[in-house]
């Protein structure tokens, strides 16, 4: 029997690969996420560790992250998150080793450096370049409206005039097609994020430069003017509608001529609305240009209590090169992160190549990388959405929001 077993058994059973676990909530980017598993197999050949990717649904991901990271058991070894929240408000992150920090600081566009940092310490590897909004226009709808898709509006006044031409109304005066696909649903944090480019174009900022005060900024005269303009898009100008669903889908369904979105939207459109002919331009300017800013930037973060954190850093070191950066982002249609990749044929061939360069050439707008950014953006977003729905006027709504934000900041 022993002899028979010896003959039939394989020479040597393959060793069970060990795993490091990665959590991501980017459910809209499956190819991007899957890539870590592919590279993990390659990494396993030298380290013995593969990568397991767990996609957590975006809605409510914070609760799952928090429960796991507080509880330690079942926590990921590394995860996609926001530095100022997970490393700032909570102390869940391992600091980046010096050699890796050097690699990344030398290869990231300068405006992206704060994305991975909190109070001067570097924790995260930014994973999304072009995470600022740009203007996507529907070429067909532009032509139908008598607009030239090769000459996009450069100022907010020109933009508003174009939005009016793009809007189509029914007999009762309700829009059946709108100029602008405006975000009005969902969590107020998202509402804030989509409104900020308008605020920045008006020269407003949500918080003081030290991020310690809202009054005088969130309710300053520039912000009030910006919110007037934004609210009027729905209530007075009727170039945006609350009766439409998600703005991404509205644009994908050719029911809106323009949307402001990040670089990933290029990949999303190619996949979900391939018959939409679109072009991408820099956002229109008013007093200022909105520039390359964002409210919630994403990074890869290493869990400081992970028993495998050194392996994870090794893995991140393993993929920290221009080739992998390009490969991973190209798979999903996202702009790569490394500066050197921004001049590759892939990026040059993208419809947002020129606009990205133009946006990056503008001054970097204010960032709000505060540990309580979600709560602050909620208070602010409630004022914005309240105005859109006619619940309040810009000035008193913003006064109320600013007072709440100051209370949050003092807490």
């Amino acid at each position: 029997m022993a002899g028979l077993l010896a003959v039939t058994a394989p020479d040597r059973a393959p060793a069970q690969a060990k795993k490091i676990v990665y959590w991501t909530h980017w459910e809209q980017n499956p190819e991007f996420n899957k890539w870590y598993e592919t590279k993990g197999k390659e990494f396993a050949k030298k380290s013995g560790y593969e990568v397991e990717v767990v996609t957590i649904p975006y809605q409510g991901y914070e609760a799952k992250y928090l429960a796991a990271l507080v509880g330690k058991s079942g926590a990921p070894d590394f995860f996609n998150g926001i530095v100022h929240q997970w490393c700032g408000q909570y102390d869940f992150c391992d600091k980046m080793p010096a050699d890796l920090e050097k690699t990344w600081s030398e290869n990231l566009p300068k405006y992206m450096l704060p994305v991975g940092q909190f109070k001067g310490a570097t924790y995260g590897i930014p994973i999304e370049h072009g995470n600022f909004q740009q203007m996507y226009i529907d070429v067909e709808l532009f032509k139908k409206a008598g607009l030239n898709p090769d000459k996009p509006p450069k100022t907010l006044d020109e933009w508003l005039a174009a939005m009016k031409k793009l809007s189509v109304y029914d007999a009762k005066g309700e829009p059946t097609q709108v100029g602008f696909a405006l975000r009005h649903k969902g969590h107020p944090v998202g509402i804030t994020d989509k409104f900020l480019p308008f605020a920045h174009a008006f020269g407003a900022r949500m918080l003081s430069p030290g991020l310690d005060r809202a009054t005088g900024f969130a309710n300053g005269p520039e912000m009030v003017a910006a919110l007037h303009f934004y609210g009027d898009l729905v209530t007075k100008d009727k170039v945006a509608s609350l009766a439409f669903g998600n703005p991404e889908e509205t644009f994908g369904q050719k029911r809106a001529g323009v949307i402001f979105r990040e670089s990933w939207y290029f990949g999303w459109l190619k996949k979900n609305a391939p018959d939409v002919a679109f072009k991408v331009y820099a956002l229109p300017c008013a007093k200022a240009c909105p520039g390359a800013g964002n409210l919630f930037p994403w990074s890869n973060l290493v869990y400081k209590n992970s028993p495998h954190k050194q392996v994870v850093w090794d893995f991140l070191r393993f993929i920290s090169n221009a080739k992998d950066d390009l490969e991973q982002h190209q798979l999903q249609g996202i702009l790569p992160v490394w500066t050197v990749n921004l001049e590759t044929p892939y990026v040059k061939g993208r419809p947002d190549y020129a606009s990205t360069r133009e946006m990056l050439a503008q001054p970097v707008p204010p960032n709000y990388y505060h540990p309580k950014s979600n709560e602050l953006a909620t208070a602010f977003g409630e004022a914005v959405v309240g105005v859109l729905y006619g619940k309040g006027q810009p000035k008193p709504s913003l006064d109320e929001a600013a007072a709440r934000m100051d209370r949050i900041l003092k807490d």
Binding site: Q59, E62, A63, K185, A243, G386, Y389, D411
Partner: protein
């Protein structure tokens, strides 16, 4: 302790252990947590009643309580009355038809709340939704449903009724079938009309079930979360921000576990008081 008592304890032990782990310990933890502010890194600072003061002076919190009560007022009476009506109708059917219809009413209860919410989100969709399509067929203008400040709560209440109707109907139906037929025969012989039989025989005998269903519906609606979070996330403009989604955001979006614990204690306290009051006021002993 005699053998019989020991056996009794052993039988209740699993349920007590489950209750302790799943309800009692978290409740005590919430109560303790409501006095502490959790600091970065997991450290905590004792706040006394400071967090209670913060929550109870926050207009956003009271708005969410008001919205919860509004939704509750729309959902609970409709569900109970409709369930009673459906149960009375089903009770008159033959066994075969009764089973078929009862199963149909019960199916929504078996659907996950998030799935139910997402289904209704599509039905309510202002442009492509079936409901507006149906309105158009009869010449009525489209409605904004979940995207309207005024219609969002009734729209969510309709989802609640759809989800809960089957469960309540089953309870009423079981209770109706347990009422001895002799009571109706006696009432009929005394000349009681159908309406009088319903009012003087059926409803008093259903009182325990009505009280129980009212309490369950109240608890269900007060704790409403999935439907709101999956469909409106409290919107539009905060018009459907009920208390549990606010609690969830406070805990997991803003990482204010202490304040969220205060809200949890508030919900527990309110439900306890209301349930006890409801039980005391509405529960009347019925003698056969």
């Amino acid at each position: 302790m005699d053998r019989q008592r020991r056996a009794g304890f052993l039988f209740v032990l699993p349920a007590v252990a489950y209750f302790a782990c799943v309800y009692f310990i978290p409740l005590v933890e919430s109560l303790i947590g409501s006095f502490y502010r959790t600091l970065p890194g997991g450290a905590s600072r004792f706040m006394g009643f400071g967090l209670y003061e913060r929550v109870f002076t926050d207009p956003v919190f009271w708005n969410s309580v008001k919205t919860t009560i509004k939704l509750l007022a729309l959902s609970v009476p409709s569900t109970v009355v409709l369930a009673l009506a459906v149960a009375l109708g089903l009770d008159r059917l033959t066994l075969r038809w009764r089973s078929l219809w009862a199963a149909m009413y019960f199916v929504p209860f078996a659907v996950s709340l998030v799935a139910a919410a997402l289904i209704w989100q599509w039905l309510y969709e202002p442009v492509y939704g079936v409901l507006n399509h149906a309105l158009a067929l009869v010449g009525l203008p489209p409605q904004k449903w979940l995207q309207s400040l005024n219609q969002v709560l009734p729209s969510l209440a309709a989802v609640n009724v759809w989800v809960r109707l089957g469960f309540d109907t089953m309870i009423f139906l079981a209770a109706l079938q347990a009422i001895p037929g002799e009571y109706y025969e006696a009432a009929a012989m005394d000349g009681a009309s159908a309406r009088q039989q319903l009012w003087h025989v059926t409803l008093p005998l259903l009182n325990p079930q009505v009280v129980m269903v009212c309490i369950l519906e109240l608890i269900f609606n007060f704790k409403i979360f999935d439907q709101v979070y999956a469909t409106t996330q409290g919107g539009p403009a905060g018009a459907s921000q009920t208390i549990i989604p606010l609690l969830y955001d406070t805990a997991f979006k803003y990482f204010r576990l202490g304040e969220a614990s205060v809200m949890a204690v508030f919900v527990f306290g309110v439900l306890l008081v209301v349930t006890l009051l409801q039980w005391r006021i509405f529960r009347r002993p019925v003698d056969y």
